[in-house]
Amino acid sequence: MNKLFSYLVLLVILLSLTLAAHARGTNIEINTPAITKLKQSMQQRHGQLAPYYTSGAVGLTRDGMIAMRDANAVPLAQRQSVNALVAAENQDRNALYREIARANSHPEWEKDIRATFSQRWISLAKSGWWYQAANGSWTKK
């Protein structure tokens, strides 16, 4: 009886290894209609957001979002519309991370995908843009 169980244990270990190996080899699927749509919507918005990244009004947060960092850099009358841009961008970003996780049939990956993106947004940001360091403080790239 005990021997049978140890076989079972072995089997589970093997199975978990194959699963792991399988996962490691996977490519990340990003070519779904939903992801394309979100990408386009963000690309269109980027033209409006870029000047605010440059002026430091808007910065990249450590959790893969964006935030109004220094409203003083924006004329008073435009602050609300920058707010709206930030909110719309964050909605798209949230949806993007979720859709990528779903497209790869691993909804639980959303957190990891967000973490990956938050690093990559910051790495690829142009110099002069502001981002939030791991400790939450704002830093100029």
Partner: protein
């Protein structure tokens, strides 16, 4: 008697199933995800040649 001896085995089995689940999470394809993220970010931020040209144009404008 037999039941008692089975107990730790079942426990071990469960713990291994649990670690198996964790294993899957650890093997989130980080490198592939990074590549995918870069691809999306480059498109959204238009970081290709066109983007660089645009930046160049901005530079000349500020020189004037």
């Amino acid at each position: 008697m037999k039941n008692v001896s089975l107990y730790p085995v079942i426990l071990a089995l469960f713990s291994i199933i649990l670690t198996a689940c964790v294993t899957i999470n650890i093997y989130f394809p980080a490198a592939a995800a990074e590549k995918a993220a870069d691809q999306i970010i480059e498109e959204v931020w238009q970081l290709d040649d066109a983007g660089k040209n645009e930046q160049g144009a901005e530079d000349t404008r500020s020189d004037n």
